[in-house]
């Protein structure tokens, strides 16, 4: 498949089509409603499934194979929010709270984009669809990007405000946040139960995964659609930022992943993680730490711009790039 074909095939995948259905439903003000409680339960399911599946595969992976990718991920979790902050301050002319707030979003992970990236790989033909089993742990590590951004902001603001206690709580909340606990908990359980224990729960955590994700993406599309309406409010700079940054981050993440020894598929997923912008954990953390930052800006750009950009163009792009660079590095053949 060439690049155009990959983009086309992603665009016409059930996942992206369901997302678009959700966007369209919102734009024509249709009343399709998937209740919030079901969506919450589904996102628990998706994260736990990914952890589980990773854990089951993990058996036998030497810890050494994990070290370099983990270090690279930590480096990204420090570097990405930092340079986002600098760009937002320098080019974007945002004040400290807004710059740090937006940086927290782009420095951490959007679960949906991550899950869609995994699903993108699993959809590939047998034999080309494997990736490193410890990937969920990398996603959990990348959540630290939130904390890095908040630290930068607090430091630049000066710690005069009485919100230091708040920051402590935010750090704890990030470390024990839903995605971290479910990804790591699932991973651990997967390791312990192994193939055999997994076999009996695979109908739920394996076979159904992709279908549930499609269902979930209808709602994500509706969410993004609602934010799209606020598009004009964010201004031209953020529109460009929200479109370009994920693409750059995706390439950087992929490149570093390959250099750290990940397979092209694994590096692709690391690229997706890097490119994605959180829209659940980051908003809550930023709201608690920098209430003066304007939520319209960071929500609209991460949900209304970056999420669709990643799902629609980003995934095939990073994937092609990973294959190309992988081939260039002699890691695989690029047809």
């Amino acid at each position: 498949m060439d690049t155009i074909e990959i983009i086309r095939s992603n665009l016409l995948s059930p996942l992206v089509l369901a997302f678009i259905l959700g966007v369209v439903a919102t734009l024509i003000r249709s009343e399709v409603e998937i209740p919030e409680s079901v969506i919450k339960a589904i996102s628990v399911y998706l994260l736990f499934s990914i952890g589980l599946n990773g854990g089951v595969e993990l058996a036998g992976t030497p810890i050494s194979a994990f070290l370099l990718p983990a270090l690279v991920t930590i480096a990204l979790a420090i570097a990405v929010p930092t340079w986002c902050y600098l760009i937002l301050r320098g080019l974007g002319r945002f004040d400290i709270p807004n710059a740090a707030g937006i940086a927290a979003h782009y420095g951490s992970v959007s679960s949906v984009t991550f899950v869609a990236g995994i699903s993108f790989v699993e959809r590939l033909p047998e034999g080309q669809n494997s990736f490193e089993a410890f990937i969920p742990a990398l996603a959990a590590l990348m959540e630290w990007g939130i904390i890095v951004a908040l630290f930068i902001g607090r430091w630049r603001l000066g710690a005069t405000q009485s919100q230091n206690s708040e920051l402590g709580r935010v750090i704890r909340d990030t470390l024990t946040g839903r995605s971290v606990v479910l990804l790591l908990g699932g991973l651990l359980i997967g390791v312990i139960i192994g193939e055999q224990g997994f076999a009996r729960i695979k109908p739920l955590y394996g076979d159904l995964f992709r279908g549930v994700l499609v269902f979930f993406l209808i709602e994500m599309g509706m969410l993004a659609g609602r934010q799209l309406r606020d598009f004009v409010k964010v201004g031209l700079f953020m529109a460009v930022f929200g479109t370009i940054m994920p693409l750059i981050h995706g390439m950087i993440g992929t490149s570093l992943g390959l250099l750290a020894g990940l397979s092209p598929n694994g590096a692709f997923i690391l690229g997706v993680i890097t490119a994605s912008a959180s829209y659940i954990d980051a908003p809550a953390a930023v709201r608690a730490t920098f209430p003066q930052a304007n939520p319209s800006i960071y929500l609209t750009s991460s949900l209304g711009i970056t999420l669709p950009v990643n799902l629609i163009i980003g995934l095939p792009l990073y994937y092609e790039y990973a294959r190309w660079l992988g081939a260039a590095l002699g890691r695989m053949e690029y047809q």
């Binding site: 919030e36 969410l223 609602r226 934010q227 606020d230 829209y279 659940i280 908003p283 809550a284 930023v286 709201r287 608690a288 209430p291 003066q292 939520p295 319209s296 929500l299 949900l303």
Partner: protein
């Protein structure tokens, strides 16, 4: 039947404030509270948790002094930066001492 007048303080706020508000009203002397999930719109428009479904409403029956302290705390700590409103009214209860 002996009725006592106490103050009912109602706070409507974005959900990110939930734990903090509960902690604060307890610290200021409330002995209980009731919380519910609501949606709403005000002058601030969109807020961070909009997509997560709305606001919380906290109601607490307190003595007039505690009510004043709560309102002041709201004004000092939350009005400037958060989507939050608060209002008070008088209500009659039995067992006035429970809320004093």
């Amino acid at each position: 039947m002996k009725l006592t007048t106490v103050r009912l303080v109602t706070i409507i706020a974005e959900p990110v404030l939930k734990d903090r508000l509960i902690h604060e009203i307890h610290a200021l002397g409330a002995h209980g509270y009731t919380i519910s999930e609501v949606h709403g719109e005000g002058t601030r428009g969109i807020h961070a948790s909009q997509w997560q479904g709305g606001n919380i409403k906290i109601e607490t029956l307190v003595s007039p002094e505690v009510a004043d302290h709560i309102l002041e705390a709201m004004a000092d700590h939350y009005f400037p930066n958060y989507a939050v409103i608060a209002y008070v009214t008088d209500v009659q209860v039995m067992r006035g001492e429970k809320f004093a």
